[in-house]
């Protein structure tokens, strides 16, 4: 069973976001990590590999530092990685990313494509599903359980108010939700082995894509930061009085109850 995992490097979820003098998100000094949801995708791929054999190939798009996250996934046990890097891929939108990934993935054998259900940076949750459509294969979004048998996947996905069990013939794209598994730590041995594994660099030219083929469908016109909330009123006094006062305020002043 060959598996492709789409991996994105993101800011650490603990990172503070600031804008630089050009009004863009300032990445200076920010700790970068593997998108937490992609960790679930990597873990699921490795579990499938342990069960069925085959290759796990990572595919990512971004700058040089993405190799750090790719190395981590290789240390966890993935076999090889492809990193698409090109000056013409500055500020890609989700359509561009999906189109480029589709070209790259179609050069790799796969039965299953796994990805995180959302990236914690742009929070758009589009690329993996778009990729499935670009490849003309089905997708199951937001899965919390997966069973694979006889070329079919039975995936339980989270829906509002419950879960849904979807059966789909492979190949398919599956996006991982927290709860699907507990990602392993890369072992010391894995870390030592990872440096011998290949991270293959690719450009748009390698994929047969011209810059003109990638008009952006969406543009970001402005970044802003939320106006900071200020601490409000602390209600003091005995517990009973404080509870009574809080209930009164919520009803009479805030009018939210």
């Amino acid at each position: 069973m060959d598996i492709v995992v789409c991996l994105k490097q993101t800011f650490d979820t603990e990172a503070k976001i600031v804008l630089n003098s050009n009004g863009k998100i300032d990445g200076t000094g920010v700790n970068l990590i593997m998108n937490p949801y992609d960790e679930f995708a990597v873990e699921e791929a490795l579990k499938l590999k342990e069960k069925f054999g085959g290759q796990v190939t990572l595919v990512s798009m971004g700058g040089e530092r993405v190799t750090e996250s790719l190395r981590t996934a290789l240390a966890m046990g993935c076999d090889e990685a492809v990193l698409i890097q090109d000056p013409d891929l500055e500020s890609p939108d989700e359509w561009v990313t999906a189109e480029v990934l589709a070209k790259a993935v179609s050069k790799i054998p796969y039965d299953i494509i796994l990805a995180g259900r959302i990236a914690v940076d742009d929070g758009s949750g589009q690329v993996a599903i778009r990729l499935a459509d670009a490849l003309k294969i089905p997708s199951v979004n937001c899965i919390i359980k997966l069973e694979v048998e006889d070329g079919k996947a039975a995936a339980t996905r989270e829906i509002d108010g419950g879960t849904e069990l979807i059966e789909v013939r492979l190949p398919a794209v599956l996006t991982a939700q927290k709860g699907l598994n507990i990602p392993r730590y890369p072992s010391m041995m894995g870390i030592m082995k990872a440096k011998k594994k290949e991270i293959k660099g690719m450009t748009l030219a390698d994929l047969g894509i011209g810059a003109a083929d990638l008009p952006r469908k969406m543009s970001i016109t402005k970044f802003s930061l939320p106006s900071p909330r200020k601490g409000g009123i602390k209600i003091s006094g005995e517990a009973a009085d404080a509870a009574k006062e809080l209930a009164r305020i919520l009803r009479e002043e805030a009018k939210v109850i």
Partner: protein, 380 residues
């Protein structure tokens, strides 16, 4: 000269830190309180390869350098010094002498399962009458045909009772003093090998510290480690390397306590300012950071010497003295910064301060380390 960690070390630090924070930190307070040995965590350490970092792949080790090992012990100790010493004693004091002095058969039989974490190791040198001065060793070994018969006892043995494999020293010829000492490999469960008192300690309370008791323990001759009369040398070389582990443990305690103090000082307000805005606290924090950074450089330098197979004794002694004294200074100041809260068990600095003290004592007291340093610099 390059002060940057390489990609592997960065990844190792991140991995061990994630593991330490997510798996080890949550129960550390509880294990300390109950004096509960971290057996589950030990197993997980084995799975992650933390039990055989410096040993070559041919013995199922990771084949990484001493810096990888130091980073591991540092990161574990940053949240739980008891787990740090469990790994350190196992690797430095049991697996390492077998690796350095063992025969190929001994390495296959004992080193491999230690390295994989299937078995845990301990080291028995200290006795009631032989602390800093090993020549007081009263445990005896007598050759009888194809066996040695061991009698005596060892105290303060880290990982005692829980460990499967023990490297111990015993006197074979008292007239020869230190040159009469030999080292042996013992297995838990050998007839006559039992455990005595479990120590109730001030700190590192979840690590196990036991007395080992030998009553006519018969071991096969092939369990002699090195040669007869080589035991003292084996012990000294073992401790030269072992100090790197304890220095790393101390560094980790210091780092953990410092981070707690730093975080608290930014959150806690007094006199209308956060503590971190008060100069008196800023100076404390600066001194803590300064000493930690100096300790780290010494520890990492000792690692470099060990990895390059160069004389490590002076460097590991310097690293241990400075790191352990730093750990005590930093942890004490961290408690001071947290004030009344710091003195309670609601905050980990209380535990860290108790844990720090032992690093100035075991595997050679600070006084002994200074003797080692002096001996090294005077012989040059």
């Amino acid at each position: 000269m390059n002060f940057d960690l390489n990609e592997d070390h960065i990844m190792m630090r991140k991995m061990v830190r994630d593991f330490a924070e997510q798996e080890c930190a949550p129960g550390a307070e509880d294990r300390d309180e109950k004096e509960e040995f971290p057996m589950e965590l030990w197993k997980k350490c084995g799975e992650l390869g933390l039990t055989g970092i410096t040993f070559p792949e041919e013995y199922c080790g990771v084949g990484a350098d001493y810096l990888s090992y130091a980073i591991t012990v540092e990161e574990l100790s940053r949240v739980d010094a008891s787990l740090g010493v469990t790994i350190s004693a196992h690797s430095s004091l049991c697996a390492n002498p077998i690796y350095l002095f063992g025969t190929e058969e001994q390495k296959q039989k004992y080193l491999v399962p230690l390295v994989t974490g299937e078995k845990m190791g301990a080291f028995g040198l200290t006795e009631a009458m032989a602390g800093s001065d090993a020549s007081g060793t009263r445990t005896t070994a007598v050759r009888e045909g194809n066996e040695f018969i061991i009698n005596g006892s060892k105290i303060f043995i880290t990982n005692g009772y829980y460990a499967d494999t023990y490297v111990i020293t015993a006197q074979m010829d008292k007239s020869k003093g230190n040159r009469g000492i030999a080292a042996f490999i013992l297995e838990k469960g050998m007839p006559g090998f039992t455990f005595g008192k479990k120590e109730k300690k001030m700190g590192i309370r979840s690590s196990a510290t036991y007395e080992l008791v030998f009553e006519n323990v018969r071991i096969p001759a092939e369990n002699l480690l090195g040669e007869e009369g080589q035991g003292f040398k084996i012990a000294m070389v073992t401790l030269d390397y072992g100090r790197i582990g304890i220095a790393s443990q101390a560094l980790g305690i210091a780092q953990g306590a410092y981070e707690q103090a730093l975080k608290y000082s930014k959150e806690r307000s007094q006199f209308g300012k956060t503590l971190s805005e008060l100069e008196v606290i800023q100076f404390k924090l600066a001194d803590m950071a300064l000493q930690i950074e100096a300790a780290r450089l010494l520890v990492y330098q000792a690692c470099h010497m060990a990895t390059e197979h160069r004389p490590v004794s002076k460097y590991s002694a310097m690293a241990k003295v400075h790191a352990s004294e730093t750990a005590n200074m930093v942890a004490t100041q961290a408690v001071q910064i947290l004030g009344g809260y710091g003195y309670t068990r609601d905050y980990p600095v209380e535990r860290m301060m108790r844990d720090a003290k032992i690093t100035e004592i075991y595997e050679g007291t600070s006084e002994i380390q200074r003797i080692v340093i002096a001996a090294n610099i005077l012989k040059d």
